[in-house]
């Protein structure tokens, strides 16, 4: 059923909340479709139909499919980081282990809607991506947490003082992103991805240890 939200009359306040409601419905519908059909397999028309709104009203709120996905991904950040913030203060032990826990939380979280996350990565290469979209690869919070973790390793003495944390963070983020490949190539689940990431972190951090 299609409801033409735009035509509902009312005072400005009501129209505002109407607009917000449309927005929420579009985001919820898009989230579901991206997670089942992937990025290429989802069209704005289908999102509109699934949300029960007119195609036109999707376009009055969002500039492109990529922008809708950006919003959907942005909305997941708070619950994800609520989980991370709860755990972070309790992380102890070697730098590699602290990193492993951090990434395990991410992988476990994203694996719940893994096609959504793959859509997020695929969209970064989209031809129609608008400048307002925030594609994958700009998760500054995660990068900040990794750097903090490495700096702490320097203070604790299991990371060499001359290590450039920004270089290492790029490498770890690359390993993290490519771990999601395993979903495409091997239908990997959260546990399999976490195991792969653990090994990769081990290999990288091994190279940062103080020389005997």
């Amino acid at each position: 059923m299609t409801i033409d939200v735009e035509r509902v009359p009312g005072p400005p306040a009501a129209r505002q909340s109407q607009k917000a409601a449309t927005r929420q419905r579009v985001l919820a519908a898009a989230r579901e479709l991206f997670d089942t059909h992937g990025y290429q397999g989802t069209t704005i028309r289908e999102i509109a139909r699934h949300a029960g709104v007119a195609v036109g009203s999707v376009f009055t709120t969002f500039a492109s499919k990529g922008e809708i996905l950006s919003e959907v991904m942005q909305a997941r950040i708070d619950p994800l980081y609520a989980e991370l913030d709860r755990v972070m203060p309790h992380l102890h032990g070697a730098t590699a282990d602290r990193l492993r826990t951090m990434f395990a939380i991410h992988l476990e979280f994203e694996a719940r809607n893994v096609r959504l996350f793959l859509s997020h990565i695929a969209a970064a290469y989209d031809w129609t991506l608008s400048p307002g979209a925030r594609p994958y690869g700009h998760n500054t919070r995660l990068m900040g947490a990794v750097i903090e973790c490495l700096e702490r390793g320097k203070a604790l003495g299991d990371i060499r003082q001359d290590v450039d944390c920004h270089e290492v963070v790029d490498l770890i983020m690359a390993a993290y992103a490519w771990t999601y490949r395993l979903v495409i190539t091997h239908d990997a689940d959260a546990q399999a991805m976490i195991a792969a990431m653990n090994r990769q972190i081990g290999l990288i951090v091994e190279g940062l240890a103080p020389r005997p």
Partner: protein, 217 residues
């Protein structure tokens, strides 16, 4: 449908010149491939249609379908052609390495240099490869990763033999990570216009870190 490259045509019938008909067919294939390469680069994989590719090649869609079963078949053929040329270039580059880090760096750089003039095609390939349903498009590629991982593996094994890396170096995991890292720099090249020099500086550090844990002395 059997795909015949110009080289195979020559090799398969050394005694007899190919018929005019076979030559014409070959010409058509090459024209379609060139047009497809251009459109995939300009419009992306999803954006390029067989209709547009046919028009750009100056022929009917029927003539395209007489040579290729579908769009994914076309894309795959282009990727396979490139991969063959690329692995050859990488192998050649590796032989000029002064040590294992340098050899691996030269392999990376051979790849970035190769794609420098076709970054948009690389972008289309990345886009398809991250789509879980993109499998059919790339399926049949001589598994897009193994030849490269093998090449990195060979460099690492040679380094172990030379005593540059420890016997315990995890060659399989390291090769895979080297390949992933090689790929991970493409967004900088595609979207941020990084020069080959900038890519090289970044890759050198990445390779150094990835090999550090296995380095002897």
């Amino acid at each position: 449908m059997k795909h015949i490259s110009p080289n195979q045509v020559a090799a398969d019938s050394p005694a007899r010149a190919p018929t005019r008909r076979a030559l014409a067919k070959q010409q058509t294939r090459l024209k379609v491939l060139a047009a497809a390469r251009r459109l995939f680069s300009e419009e992306g994989y999803e954006g390029a249609t067989i209709r547009d590719i046919a028009a750009a090649a100056g022929m009917s869609t029927g003539a395209v379908f007489a040579n290729f079963s579908d769009k994914s078949d076309l894309f795959r053929e282009i990727m396979v052609d490139d991969m063959e040329a690329l692995t050859a270039a990488m192998r050649d580059a590796a032989t000029r390495g002064r040590n294992v880090e340098d050899a691996v760096l030269k392999v990376f750089m051979a790849g970035y240099t190769f794609y420098k003039s076709r970054l948009q095609l690389a972008r289309a390939a990345f886009s398809v490869s991250w789509d879980k349903d993109g499998g059919p498009t790339l399926r049949g590629l001589p598994s897009s990763t193994t030849p490269f991982q093998e090449l990195f593996g060979e460099q690492l094994n040679a380094a172990i033999e030379r005593g540059e890396l420890s016997q315990e170096a995890d060659v399989k995991l390291r090769s895979q990570m080297l390949f992933d890292t090689y790929l991970s720099n493409f967004p900088q090249a595609i979207f941020e216009g990084w020069s080959l020099d900038a890519l090289q500086a970044r890759a050198r550090e990445q390779i150094r870190i990835l090999l550090a844990g296995a380095r002897r002395g």
